[in-house]
């Protein structure tokens, strides 16, 4: 019986924490946030050198052959540091090709994705919140035309994994003349989104795309849940630190019981929920029959709790919490992103309910 991270995973966690504290401290997050660039090339190269981008990809294609839990440890660290950049969609795009691609597609794309020399994005969502594979309507084929919503870091992506009608997947190259990205005004400026117009763009279908798509979605839910867990704990830590320094009525505000109780409630919301994404990540490879339900449950619960805790953290900071100057805003906006991306909690709870046999 061992329900905990391994020695190696803890090592990965602490080395990433050190790396991010040094290379992307919150002051740098603020710069990227203000500029709206989202992508920091130096940071991207540094993370790629750490092996983060191919952690989960097969070794024969330059990856490390590790599992979703390892990737989730990375995602949690990114959430903790509110790290900007195209991590989520990149690792999910690689996963989709590894799971659903032909030998030729895998050897063409995976080594570049694993090393970070190439960058992939995801074009999944359609209007009316159609994030799930069974909801995609964009007709597939050698050429595809239509619109995809909320495509992250579209600008400069070498490749797009595109969700197609029938719940399958295709690859469209970033250089295709039939592609046009239309940047959106976004809330979480650390992860820019675009509307992607496809006009007869060349599309290379993944032969096992229909099997890969729900798996990729489940992995995405786990990574968003992990990000939310890290982000939620960061919000609590920020509020606790503020309560321990700010003084009013001649004492630290952290000595007031009303604030203590608010902070305790934040801890009650977020800390015990970490096991949800641990188990869902573990189930992805090891308990396949529970994978879909546990991923959806983790995403729904943790992203809701992240938003609760982020809101409470803003409130605990008082007036300063409502300013652009206060760092909590990065996490509050990240919480909204984590909650909505790949479908909101309500959508995933309904999916869980449909798969539950309550009579057991």
């Amino acid at each position: 019986m061992n329900f905990d991270l391994s020695e190696e995973q803890r090592l990965l966690e602490s080395s990433l924490d050190r790396f991010l504290a040094e290379r992307c401290p919150v002051a740098r997050v603020r710069e990227l946030f203000d500029s709206g660039e989202g992508l920091d090339e130096t940071l991207w190269r540094g993370l790629s050198e750490l092996g983060v981008m191919g952690l989960h990809l097969p070794e024969e294609y330059g990856g490390s052959g590790l599992e979703l839990l390892d990737l989730a440890v990375v995602a949690e660290a990114f959430g903790r540091h509110a790290t900007p950049g195209p991590f989520l969609e990149h690792v999910l795009g690689g996963l989709a090709i590894a799971l659903g691609g032909s030998e030729e597609q895998r050897s063409r794309w995976l080594p570049g994705l694993a090393s970070g020399e190439l960058r992939v994005s995801l074009a999944l969502a359609e209007g009316e919140d159609r994030w799930q594979p069974e909801q995609w309507q964009l007709p597939g084929g050698a050429r595809v035309s239509g619109v995809k919503e909320h495509v992250p870091h579209a600008s400069g992506a070498d490749l797009f994994v595109v969700g197609l009608h029938g719940g399958t997947l295709g690859l469209v190259e970033g250089s295709d003349p039939g592609l046009r990205g239309e940047p959106l005004e976004i809330l979480d400026r650390s992860r820019p989104l675009s509307r992607l117009h496809l006009d007869g763009a060349g599309c290379d279908l993944l032969p096992r795309g229909a099997e890969a798509a729900p798996r990729m979605r489940d992995a995405g839910l786990v990574l968003l849940a992990a990000d939310a867990c890290g982000g939620g704990i960061a919000c609590l830590d920020l509020a606790v630190a503020y309560a321990g320094t700010r003084e009013q009525f001649g004492v630290k505000i952290g000595s007031f019981q009303a604030l203590k109780h608010q902070l305790a409630d934040m801890a009650i919301h977020i800390h015990p929920a970490r096991g949800l994404f641990w188990f869902a990540a573990h189930a992805f490879e090891h308990v396949p029959e529970e994978s879909a339900v546990s991923a959806a449950l983790a995403k729904a619960h943790l992203t809701d709790r992240f938003l609760d805790v982020a809101r409470a953290s803003v409130e605990a900071h008082g007036g300063i919490g409502y300013t652009w100057e206060c760092d909590v805003q990065f996490w509050l906006k990240r919480a909204v992103f984590d909650r909505a991306f790949l479908g909101d909690p309500s959508c995933h709870r309904r999916r869980v309910a449909e798969q539950m046999d309550w009579s057991e």
Partner: protein
Amino acid sequence: MDFSFGSEYEAFRETVRVFLGENWPLRGEEADLSESERARRFRRRATEAGYLYRNIPRRFGGSEQPPDLLEAQILREEFGRARAPMELTGQGPQMVVPTLLEWGTEWQQERFIPKTVEGDYVWCQGYSEPGAGSDLASLQTRGERVGDEWVIHGQKIWTTHWNRAQYMFALVRTEPDASKHEGISYLLLEMDQPGIDVRPLKQITGASEFAEVFFDGARTPADWIVGERGQGWRVSRSLLKHERNMLGSGARAQGLFRSLIRLATRVERQGHKAVDDPMVAEKLVELMGYVRSQQYSSYIQLTRELQGGESGLLPLLNKIGNSNIAQQISSIALSLLGSDSLLAPGANPRGTTSGNEKWMNQFMGSLGESIAGGTSNIQRNIIAERGLGLPRQESPASKDEAGGER
């Protein structure tokens, strides 16, 4: 990450299953015995087999097994699955016995433990007082040494099992000149005596599980003190080390959640099972997020305990996590009950009602759960001060309290 218990433990699980298959439920003539007698006989057998009262020496009626968190977990799972009785619950077996094992003299252990384990001795607790609730250490009931007896004056409140208990374990101020926490002793006493007056309290449900207990010169022998004079506070705080106290937390929430699911499967709404209503199902899944969090948190604590590590904040979050879940469950149950919630539980003869109204006991009970054993607000103080490291609030009594533990 590895959820298996390993082959050695799976073999243990198999042995337990075989034992349960052969011994529960009781068969033949024994099947007709009263429920409590069946449970008593089964417990005796399960103890002989080494499955119950594992931390109690054989000479005191236990099975004297080395502490093993995984075996304890397997026993909980397998006994739960077979719906077989586990150890007696209540303040005698769960509080007095471990306290006596750690602090009692040999004769106290011999005198009280075996019959408490067997269920012959029922205990009630004399801790809270009208003026000493969350601030328990300010208790004022006083005990004076007169000859070879303690003579006790004062009042206790929230005493459960008052109608069945032969004995009380009580915190009493015996050293009036010592500081708040150092002046208390842990005394055992007989309930049936002229100096004790028990007055039942009618509680919010209408039942009277609690009583006020008045002491007017109640007496108990000098050697019925557990630990030394003035050590009572420490004696009363020291029973959280045993394997059974470890988990439970996750299992309880799951059990209650399963009952709620059964209710939602049974109750109909406009010709459909409530559970098939998407709004209800979504609520249930939201709750499931909390229930599973609690379960996984207990696995993490178990893992770290097995490896001798620290669980940080998590253990401090168990009680309030459970209370919050019980509260959410009662709120969903209440909306599932509809008009059945208008009926008093138990008061209506079966046949005229659906039986669902017994959930109103859970509803009321969930309120009690956030109060008993340290209110949720006290839990929040503990989480904030011990877990998050926030400064203690300045209060008139804080200087005195600084030396004590809560």
